[in-house]
């Protein structure tokens, strides 16, 4: 979480604490929250800022029968026989991530492109792969592991979504000014040892794609890449499964497992 996105993240964190984030906005935010300490800190600050509102609420004494029920439940938990409680917690978590809705487009947070249309696009782009590579030439990539690299100045942000469940696999943050991309693995699917995830960026007219980088696979890990170019005006990324070890430049050769467009476009408030 870096400036100039700081305000954007702060407002999202405030909305999360208010409880007004909903549906896909909420799912995406919680996925990012689970991995981003900066966002966690923003949420903690908003919890603290707004806590005073709880003092406007009158106390209300609960019925006498409530305490024995709570005590029974925690005793069952502690004795290890709390299957129902554990199941309930699991159900709660599952339900949170199963929420769906049509609010996404309206919210302006995730700009819409129907999942089926996106999948169709990526399939067609994969089909054009060889021709596209001839036109585009080879994009050389340098993957940077230099710890002295200055902080990423995020000026665009994308979350790449899975095509089926909508569960975010990767968070993609772009620094157009310094030609860098940071990718955080959120919850990618498991991968065979001889396969890698590869990130692609679509041209603005979505006629073809350019390779960006091979991606980290372990949930919670991030990698920052220097790239020779980021495509101005492009707002769509995709992830395909490719043979291990080297960036494929001719377009996706394996299945496209995830795609998504910008949460926040450059220059947007």
């Amino acid at each position: 979480m870096n400036s100039p996105d700081e305000h954007w993240w702060s407002v999202r964190a405030g909305e999360y604490v208010l409880g007004s984030l909903a549906d896909n906005d909420l799912i995406l935010f919680e996925q990012i929250l689970a991995h981003d300490t900066g966002v966690k800190a923003e949420v903690a600050q908003w919890e603290q800022r707004l806590a005073g509102l709880n003092e406007t609420t009158s106390e209300r004494k609960p019925a006498e029968h409530v305490w024995p029920l709570i005590l029974e439940r925690v005793r069952r938990l502690d004795s290890g026989s709390a299957g129902s409680d554990q199941q309930q917690l699991a159900d709660n978590a599952a339900a949170e991530f199963q929420a769906t809705g049509n609010d996404v487009a309206e919210s302006g947070v995730v700009r819409p492109m129907a999942s089926s249309r996106q999948l169709q696009l990526w399939k067609s782009l994969a089909g054009l792969a060889t021709a596209a590579s001839i036109v585009l030439g080879v994009l050389l990539l340098q993957q940077s592991a230099d710890p002295t690299t200055p902080p990423l100045k995020v000026d665009g942000l994308a979350v790449v979504l899975s095509d089926e469940s909508g569960e975010p696999f990767f968070l993609v943050e772009t620094d157009y000014g310094n030609l860098r991309v940071r990718v955080t693995a959120l919850a990618p699917p498991s991968l065979d040892d001889n396969r890698d995830f590869q990130l692609w960026q679509a041209l603005p007219d979505r006629s073809s794609v350019r390779p960006v980088a091979l991606l980290p696979e372990t949930p919670g890990t991030s990698a920052t890449f220097h790239v020779d170019a980021l495509i101005e005006g492009s707002d769509l990324f995709g992830v395909s499964i490719e043979p291990v070890g080297a960036v494929t430049v001719r377009g996706p050769t394996g299945p496209v497992v995830a795609h998504g467009d910008f949460l926040k476009k450059r220059g947007e408030d």
Partner: protein, 197 residues
């Protein structure tokens, strides 16, 4: 700014933050007596928060159970530098209530407060201003500086658990406008609190 005592309650003595912090630490050690004392000190406040959002007592009672089970399980994750114990427990309760609301879908109309459009939601002051913590006083001052519609949206969302849709319906206002109010209001609130702190 963290005050040294919890807000005084009507008819009850102020609860020292240090004492609640100690009780939470003892809960982490599976100390049931500490848990019972914590329940005695905090359940009325948390239940008030839950009833205000959920409206139906039976549902709020269930949510109170879930809240205290989570407090028992997560007591070790409480960090004093991130806010007061009561604020942390209220946060657990609010998230529990919001989870319940999301699973139930939208509230029935009879479960909503009967307000004609946007009432001035300078909140249901449960205690006189002078009895509030310093943090709460600052928040109230900053809320007062917001435009009325913006203030109402933030207060209804936080205190009543209103969704964007409910806020829009309540005020007969486009949902996009409600979202803009909230986002601008949060930024203004943050700026004001930073200035006054």
């Amino acid at each position: 700014m963290i005050s040294t005592t919890q807000p005084p309650k009507r008819g009850s003595k102020p609860v020292a933050i240090e004492h609640l912090t100690t009780l939470l630490a003892q809960c982490e050690q599976n100390n049931e007596m500490a848990f019972e004392e914590l329940y005695g000190l905090c359940s009325a406040q948390l239940y008030g928060v839950l009833v205000r959002i959920l409206r139906i007592e039976a549902i709020a009672e269930e949510a109170l159970q879930d809240t205290f089970v989570k407090i028992w399980q997560k007591a070790g994750t409480y960090r004093p530098d991130s806010g007061s114990p009561m604020a942390w427990m209220c946060s657990v309760a609010r998230h529990q209530a919001l989870d319940v609301l999301r699973k139930r879908g939208s509230r029935e109309s009879h479960e909503r407060f009967d307000v004609n459009g946007y009432i001035d939601a300078t909140p249901d002051l449960a205690k006189p201003f002078h009895e509030m913590t310093e943090d709460a006083k600052l928040l109230m001052q900053c809320l007062e500086r917001l435009p009325k519609d913006t203030r109402n949206c933030i207060i209804f969302a936080y205190c009543e658990g209103y969704s964007h849709e409910e806020l829009a319906a309540q005020g007969d206002t486009p949902i996009g406008t409600v979202k803009s109010w909230i986002r601008r209001g949060l930024l203004s609130l943050r700026k004001c609190l930073d200035e006054l702190a």
